[in-house]
């Protein structure tokens, strides 16, 4: 004997807005308490801050010095090269979106949204038109590459050459026709901060992987060297590394070779960051079950092939949270280069405060810097979360 139960709609407090409120904000007594506390905090902080931002703050300091904040003393006549770099990024990102979809789409959409936002903000007309151009390039590239799997190798090639191309465009070289040299000394502001972060991290990760593998090696010479390197570079503060790079490096090189201060700093940052990334990767390697190594060896794969195809892909996927943590950490550590005289974003901020017109505009400048650093850190964090989700970290 079966009885069919009547299918009823759920009670009103379970679904919709009330349901969401109940589940997320008021589910238990302490949650409810925290909700009330948070609401009070928001109420007491946000209106005064917003009032200040929109009525009392004098943003002229930012507006006048915007060029400095963005690119330091980078010469005006060479700015078109920076735009070429941004256009190329839009091209590769758009094509990635077209060919792969999914994760590439999120990044591309964010980039497009940023471009749109910048096009609407009150910058110079030239800049705004360029941002519109960037947005158009992004969408056009996506449409061009959509569903054309044959373009995949080209898109990958595009990503690989993006960084070297950006460096060549930004720095120029004496022997290139349109790209007159712009010494890295002149790079400043956000341009310098981003260059230091991206170049430092891109170079540090492969070096870190090699160090991690070397540390696990059975050859005593390699193992001792790697352990020594890692412990040395992890044991000193970044500031001393930067000082050493600026002062000591020229002593080791023959006097004819003059290394740009920015290059010296990049070397210091890379060597420093590599030690941390090495330990991150080593954590991932240690987490690999022995069975994976055994299965690979049993199939006849040698050490190199095993690492390349079996172990490293899995190990690195495991430690992506840690790797991106170090990435974001380095981004903020770039503020230390101010101590060795490089005009990164933070130092530019401090120098604008020294201008006679804008003495005392601390709040405006630091609020602006706060927002810029925060936005970029959020972007890197979000990118890392999307990357993890795409690669199935923690689920497969």
């Amino acid at each position: 004997m079966t009885t069919t139960a009547q299918t009823l709609p759920p009670p009103r407090t379970e679904v919709g807005l009330l349901g969401w409120l109940r589940q997320n904000l008021f589910s238990t007594w302490y949650n409810a308490l925290l909700t009330v506390l948070a609401a009070w905090l928001i109420y007491s902080i946000l209106p005064p801050v917003l009032t200040w931002v929109f009525t009392q703050a004098e943003w002229q300091v930012i507006v006048t010095n915007f060029r400095l904040f963005m690119r330091g003393q980078y010469p005006d006549e060479a700015v078109w090269r920076l735009w070429v770099g941004i256009y190329f990024l839009a091209l590769v990102m758009g094509m990635s979106w077209g060919v792969w979809g999914q994760a590439a789409r999120t990044f591309a959409a964010l980039f497009g949204a940023a471009a749109l936002l910048f096009a609407l903000l009150p910058f110079s007309l030239n800049a705004r038109l360029n941002w519109v151009g960037v947005l158009i390039t992004l969408v056009a590239a996506m449409l061009l590459a959509r569903n054309r799997a044959a373009l995949k190798p080209w898109v990958i090639l595009g990503w690989v050459i993006l960084l070297p191309l950006s460096i060549v465009l930004t720095a120029g070289a004496a022997w290139l026709p349109f790209l007159s040299p712009v010494a890295p000394r002149l790079w400043g502001g956000l341009l310098l901060t981003l260059m230091l972060t991206i170049i430092g991290n891109t170079l540090a990760l492969p070096l870190g992987i090699l160090l991690a593998l070397g540390r696990r090696s059975s050859l005593p010479a390699i193992k001792s060297f790697c352990i020594g390197y890692i412990e040395l570079w992890r044991g000193v503060p970044l500031v001393t590394v930067l000082f050493m790079a600026q002062i000591m490096l020229p002593l080791f090189l023959p006097s004819e070779i003059r290394v740009d201060p920015v290059v010296r700093v990049i070397i210091g940052l890379t060597l420093f960051e590599a030690a941390y990334q090495a330990e991150n990767v080593r954590g991932g390697l240690q987490a690999m079950p022995r069975g994976q190594f055994e299965a690979a060896y049993a199939l006849g794969l040698n050490g190199v092939l095993t690492m390349l195809f079996i172990i490293l892909p899995q190990a690195i996927r495991l430690v992506i949270p840690a790797l991106l943590n170090s990435f974001i950490s380095l981004f903020k550590d770039t503020t230390l280069v101010a101590i060795v005289g490089l005009f990164d974003l933070l130092l530019i901020g401090k120098t604008t405060l020294a201008q006679p017109d804008f003495l005392g505009k601390y709040r405006e400048v630091y609020a602006f810097l706060f927002v810029v650093y925060w936005v970029f850190s959020m972007m890197f964090s979000y990118a890392s979360q999307r990357l993890e989700k795409t690669l199935g970290v923690g689920t497969r």
Binding site: Q292, A298, L299, L301, N302, Q314, R396
Partner: protein, 254 residues
């Protein structure tokens, strides 16, 4: 009973192995002929897994000689890699590569070790998957497969290298009863096709059906060996009789 020398594919003479102070293998002497199916059984800790893992150098023996297909296993790396290409092993925990599809798992070694072109490797892989009964799983990831399917993929992966010998280290011990049958069927078919197999297993029904020889291991020595009929109907040693009585209770007969 002597056999022509070329017929013997594995020869072990007085093999000893220690793990630190623990004496795991105490003088193993064994010969295996081409095409023979040998089932090794015994209580846990008896050294059976250690022994078959020593055959493809996943464990190193400290004394004695192991000669596989004419190559003596030593610390010479070239010999080790040559031997490993000729021996396939199937593990209790499957040990599939979770970040690669089934097809990629199977074709990785043939492409990179045997240097086959991709088309040949993929054709071989599909053929093996069909033999194992799971051709439709080719583009899935191991995590999406059941245990029995994963183990059959592991068998296909080992067979893709066209080994002369297949080792099985308790292949069904981690599986549910329903899945044990599908894996054992695949192994029986493999045995009937003439592959030389050494199987560490407690599946007595499998042994009875396809084994040419059964070997009882206990505390690091071979206690008894013989054909399945001999072992099941007339075990000579007391320890063998005791173990068989425990393992062949009416519930476990299959």
């Amino acid at each position: 009973m002597s056999a022509p020398a070329s017929d013997i594919i594995i020869e072990c003479r007085d093999v000893h192995k220690w793990f630190g102070h623990f004496h795991a293998l105490k003088g193993i002497n064994l010969t295996v002929k081409r095409g023979e199916v040998v089932v090794i059984f015994g209580p846990s800790g008896s050294g059976k897994s250690t022994f078959i893992r020593a055959l493809n150098r996943l464990e190193e023996h400290q004394r004695g000689q192991i000669v596989v297909d004419g190559i003596e296993l030593s610390n010479d790396v070239r010999h080790i890699e040559a031997v490993r290409s000729e021996i396939g092993i199937v593990f209790q925990q499957f040990n599939l590569f979770p970040h690669l599809t089934v097809m990629q798992n199977i074709t990785l070694a043939p492409i990179w070790v045997r240097r086959w072109p991709k088309s040949k490797a993929e054709a071989t892989a599909m053929e093996l998957l069909e033999r194992m009964g799971i051709p439709e799983q080719a583009h899935k990831f191991p995590g999406q497969l059941s245990g029995g399917q994963q183990q059959r993929v592991a068998i296909a992966r080992a067979l893709a290298m066209q080994p002369k010998i297949m080792l099985f280290d308790e292949p069904t011990s981690a599986l549910d009863p329903e899945m044990i049958k599908e894996v054992l069927d695949a192994m029986k078919a493999l045995a009937r096709s003439g592959m030389t197999m050494l199987v560490v297993s407690h599946e007595m029904g499998f042994a009875r059906e396809v084994a040419d020889r059964m070997i009882f291991f206990d505390v690091g020595v071979i206690v008894e060996e013989g054909s399945p009929e001999q072992i099941f109907s007339a075990p000579q040693q007391e320890r063998t009789k005791l173990f068989l009585s425990q393992i062949l209770s009416p519930r476990r007969m299959n």
